[in-house]
Amino acid sequence: MSSPRSAAALVTLAVLLAAALLLFEVCARQLTGAWFTFGVHPEVLRQLELSLADQKRLAGLDPAGAARYRGRFTAVESLLGRLRILEYNRDEVVGRYQAALLILFGALAAAAAGAYLAAKVRQQGRLDRLRGALARLSAGEVDVEVGERRRDLIGRVGAMVEETSRAMARDRRRLASLENLAAWQEAARRQAHEMRTPLTAARLDLGRLHGLLGEDGGGGGDGGDGGRRRESRQLAESVLEELDRLGRFTQAFTSFARLPKPRLCRDDLGAFVAEFAATFGSAWPNLVLLAAAAPAAPGPGPPLPVGAPPAAHRGPPRSSFDRDLLRQVLVNLCDNSSQALAAAPGGEAAANGGAAVRGTVTFTLTLTPDGGAGRAAAGGQDRTSPSVVALEVADDGPGIPASVLPRLFEPYVTTRRLGEGMGLGLAISRKILLDHGGDLELARTSAAGSVFRLLLPSGREASP
């Protein structure tokens, strides 16, 4: 409030206040004077004096009622005396009344002016905060918080700034993730290429050797040669098995390195998920898949039961996605859940088709404004921003160890034993979602289970 404009506003306010007080004083003077004149009008006083004379005259004419007339006379005389005292104090009473009203009005006007100034100062502070946030945003800072919770114009602009900043932050994170994954993909491609040629040659040579050992062994010979040949064949078969395993690893590298671009098709995501749950319901012996309404995930939007009639909500959640790739993501997540359950105490029997522990994987769809279901603030959403369909995949497994969480989506990060997996599932799944213009995040994890959230754009065509 120290700028020339603020000073001019203060002067204007002071002039307006002074003008209002002056106008009030003039009006109050007129009104109060008139009010007082009515009360002690000379005609009123004269009539009261006449009344006094009448009472006396009546008492003379009617001696029997003299006491009554005397009583009335006294009452009128008393009233007349009071009015005369008031009349005598006319200037004092009117002046006091006007002063009191003026003070009252002045106090109210001053309070109003004070409130106005306070609001102005507050508004200026809010504008300064908004300006600072915009400056930080323009300087490239992301995740800028304006801290505006009111729903007026400044509050809405603040929410837009925060929304923009969140979108920028999200895009940067996605870009960084994509760059990181691209580097990993390139490394995987090179490794697969370098491994594939010698591996193929070794497999061919070993296969030939295995064949030769088999041909010679059929011709008989002494017992010692036959035994060595059998042993050599077994060794060759064992090496071939290891080479096959190495080949599968190389194939996994290749698959990760050459993830196909998604062929997007706008479709009903709810129907897709319901179909997945029905088709793959028996794929994992220790899992039950539920594509139904589940308790609402923490987020601003209401949960949408999978397969619910459109009228119940805002229509079926539609999104553009590649059915094959998205199916691969869901399979990866269910695989992880199944293996985590199997690794849990008492879980192996169920994994092998036994009837011990069975887990549940629940799919819940939520339509949220853009910004991420977990990060969105309830009060500051921009209703014009594109919406995001969040598909939550929740299991009731043992949860994810805290030590893994910081690098959960990086390639080759796994909780399994060596040789049981390469830790590429979540990295591939996230890459698929990022290629869809969405993301994959871990919503929460605990000993009661884990929830992964698949975010897919809904209000626009995805731009991978």
Binding site: R82, L86, N89, V93, A100
Partner: protein, 232 residues
């Protein structure tokens, strides 16, 4: 007359105007004498009752109060203060003047006078002790200043009117409450302030004097046993 002369005369003119405004001096002066018990008594008070400002007040039905205040500085330099009170009320029913004179000695004298002429005569014959009996003046020249304020009504009438005014406002509000009238939001908000406003208005009844008089005199006080002599 030059501007310089006007400027030179301005303070004198202003002082004269202030004096004239403060106390219209009468040609006559009251007489002061020491009573047998040494009490200073005021007598032969000039006829202020016939004054144009005072006369109409006498028959208003209200109690016109004549408040005397005296300041005496005796030969010893001692400054003494005293006074007296005369209240005159015209009884409209009986058409008589009811007069009460209260001296500095605390004694009251009450009279009922049938006409204004008799009242004026009573006034001229009035002798009123104006210094308390304990205040004995030292022998020698004593300078006296007597001020008279004529008030249009008595203190009792003042407080009675104030309470009537307050009561009227309160009764009006109580009647509105009894009638079940819902006060407007503005009236409800200003309710705490209305009490203050009423107080301000009801205490605005003042006993301003109608007219003031002032006389100065010198009283020669003889030593104990000798009579005092007034020198105008």
């Amino acid at each position: 007359m030059t501007a310089r002369a006007l400027l030179a005369l301005a303070p004198a003119l202003a002082a004269a105007a202030a004096l004239a405004r403060a106390a219209p001096l009468l040609a006559e002066r009251p007489v002061f004498e020491l009573g047998a018990d040494g009490v200073l008594v005021m007598a032969a008070v000039p006829d202020v009752l016939s004054n144009a400002e005072v006369k109409p007040r006498l028959t208003s039905g209200l109690t016109t109060s004549f408040v005397f205040e005296i300041s005496a500085t005796d030969a010893g330099g001692r400054k003494l203060r005293g006074g007296g009170l005369v209240e005159i009320r015209y009884e409209l029913w009986d058409e008589v003047f009811l007069v009460t004179a209260t001296g500095a000695d605390g004694r009251q004298r009450r009279d009922s006078l049938p006409s204004l002429d008799r009242l004026v005569a009573w006034w001229r014959e009035l002798k009123l002790p104006v210094l308390a009996p304990g205040n004995r003046l030292a022998a020698g020249a004593c300078r006296l200043v007597l001020a008279l304020s004529v008030l249009p009504f008595s203190r009792a009438e003042q407080s009675e009117t104030q309470s009537w005014l307050s009561r009227s406002v309160a009764d009006e509000r109580a009647a509105a409450a009894r009638a079940g009238e819902t006060p407007s939001p503005a009236a409800a908000a200003a309710a705490p302030l209305s009490g203050v406003l009423d107080l301000l208005v009801s205490t605005s009844i003042k006993r301003r004097s109608v007219v003031d008089f002032e006389w100065r005199s010198v009283l020669r006080v003889r030593p104990a046993g000798a009579d005092a002599e007034r020198r105008p």
